[in-house]
Amino acid sequence: MSSTALQNLIEQPYKHGFVTEIEADVAPRGLSEDTIRLISQKKDEPEWLLEFRLKAFRHWLTMAEPRWPNVRYPEIDFQAISYYSAPKPKKKLASMDEVDPELRRTFEKLGVPLHEQKALAGVAVDVIFDSVSVTTTYKKRLAEAGVIFCSISEAVRDHPELVRRYLGSVVPHGDNFYAALNSAVFTDGSFCFIPKGVRCPMELSTYFRINTQESGQFERTLIVAEEGAHVSYLEGCTAPQFDTNQLHAAVVELVALDDAEIKYSTVQNWYAGDKDGKGGIYNFVTKRGLCKGRNSKISWTQVETGSAITWKYPSCVLLGENSIGEFYSVALTNHHQQADTGTKMIHVGRNTRSRIISKGISAGQSNNSYRGLVKIGPKAAGARNFSQCDSMLIGDACGAHTFPYIQVQNDSAIVEHEATTSKIGEDQLFYFASRGIATEDAVSMIINGFVKEVFTQLPMEFAVEATKLLGLKLEGSVG
């Protein structure tokens, strides 16, 4: 097995690279209070939301882009970005039949399950195409259970009091540079509310797709689980192939009250640039969950395979007594991709527990960093954390880095950290070959074994998709 063969193996082109031709309603480039007023006006927003945006914008103007991540990219010109883009709806949509056929074909190519069969699989899909929700399905069944699942724009219109109470309560408008930017200019996203005592009757799924060239994407997601509520939320992303870098700065906020549980799973496959590192999406995301109530639980599972740059730390603030935070991650980088990703577990309440399982796979000339913070506050008596950070290298030109930060301010806490680095090397592949197993199958088997602990956390259907995705990224013609 030569290194050339390995190289061929990991150089599969992006399969979802096509552009859908739909008339888009694009705002002029640039960012000012006027742009924000335009967005707010286009979306017919209440005054308080405009104020929230403007406050965030004014704060953002005083902030600097973070320079500490272990990633390199040219200066972003925030005035060169268009902050609003929406497919022009022909008229108000009453059913799927009215959805733009071109758009539906795109979804079919991607395998986005909008059609009826999906009901049998028990998945309601809130499809976001660029920034506006086109349609939301199975609302009725969810409504019967009392679950609200809609675009955040609809939520602002139909449930303003809920949005107002929770928006910015986990990620404040001035939290960090990108979160502030998002708070100022977010165009759409998902809203999900599970009332007290309700177990969401199906897994909720949103497919994101970036389509209009050079339109910044600023999604905003808010999920609230009231006392004793349960929800599992799936987010999947694919994007078409472009040469120009696209900025994506989403904010996701989760709130879990007493005894509530939120499971948030992501499979991300955005365009990562070509094999020379040209193009690709910059993914600067702030995801945070607040375990506000006692015995609440928030679990993040992510499979990150795309983007030119990933800057993302899905975190848990463990405020409620006995609350639990979990982070399961697989981050795969190839070619010139850069990922600086990990989590923060902030233990505030007593007997809070957290678990971190991170698996980084680097191939090509890529750079893969795990960055994690475990913080045990002075009142977090009996807090426990276990972290496991494993890295796998494929080839000789890639890098894997681990930056664990641990801050403990309570003597009774127990914090454990384990880390390993392994390499798919000549010897391992020769061992498989000497048993008749070709390199491609060997790599696939080794990688699947490596990520197993994380993939078992994914909902079944997603796990199958994610396995295919890794296969797609790592299998190919063996030279």
Partner: protein, 269 residues
């Protein structure tokens, strides 16, 4: 090249002629001559660094070794025309001196993939996980292995003895035509040695040849070879029957090395 010590009228499986091979630019094998027939057991002995293990790895196709001269025919066909996985499918098996650990991949999954790959290449039936489970448990009895090991990651955290048993189990599953066992006895205590050797003996068959690469004669107390070859300085310097191994045990290798040096060529038995 050794003359036949025992009447094994099997056809020639492996024919090595003038084989030279190098690793990192250093020539290790300097002209190996060897013929192995079906049904035979050959032991290859020799001092450290003589090229014993290199020969086994070159035959199996380890990518770190470059063949610089000579030819090898396996069942009449050019062995070097085949990639390592094709050699395995054609019936060559290498039992590793240091089996590689593969975290996260269960033995059961690994063994089944190997088995089905080789079966498919032979045009034979593949087994589903349940069928394979029955099959592999049966074979594990040959080696006195705990079925719990099927659920463990390949070689991860295995003791030396467990790793070697696992190698022989793989041989028992893949049923090769030619098994090259590289220091299968190293790192084994006497009980494990007996079990592993017993497993190898059960695999002896009229249509299969076994080549044992070993340091010590003690393995040959359990697996009786038809031929014993001594490699020194990258050549086979002596070939004999099992009594040669006993003689080596008594006298060491030095007398052979001196003799070879003086003659400047392989010493005939």
């Amino acid at each position: 090249m050794g003359k036949r010590m025992r009447n094994t009228d099997g056809k020639i499986l492996l024919e090595v002629r003038g084989l030279k091979a190098a690793v990192a630019g250093v020539e290790i094998l300097k002209g190996i001559e060897l013929a192995v027939r079906a049904g035979e057991v050959h032991a290859i002995m020799g001092p450290n660094g003589s090229g014993k293990s290199t020969l086994a790895k070159v035959l199996a196709g380890h990518p770190a070794y470059a063949t610089t001269a000579g030819e090898v025919r396996f069942e009449g066909a050019d062995l070097f025309a085949l990639a390592p996985e094709e050699r395995a499918r054609a019936g060559i098996f290498l039992g590793f001196q240091y089996p590689v650990e593969v975290p996260g991949v269960t033995n059961a999954a690994f063994l089944r993939l190997a088995y089905n790959t080789v079966q498919a290449a032979r045009g034979a039936d593949e087994l589903d996980p349940l069928e394979f489970d029955d099959f592999v448990r049966e074979r594990m009895k040959l080696l006195d292995m705990d079925p719990a090991f099927l659920g463990r990651s390949v070689n991860e955290g295995f003791s030396g003895g467990e790793k070697k048993r696992n190698e022989i189990l793989q041989m028992a599953i893949l049923e090769p035509r030619l098994a090259l066992l590289d220091e299968t006895d190293s790192g084994l205590d006497i009980d494990a040695l007996r079990v592993v050797a017993g497993g190898v003996n059960k695999m002896r068959a009229a249509d299969r040849a076994i080549v044992l690469v070993t340091h010590y004669q003690r393995l040959l107390n359990y697996i009786e070879p038809d031929f014993v070859h001594v490699i020194a300085g990258g050549r086979i310097v002596r070939t004999g029957d099992k009594s040669l191994a006993l003689e080596l045990e008594r006298r060491g290798y030095d007398w052979l090395l001196e003799g070879a040096k003086a003659a400047g060529k392989p010493v005939a038995a």
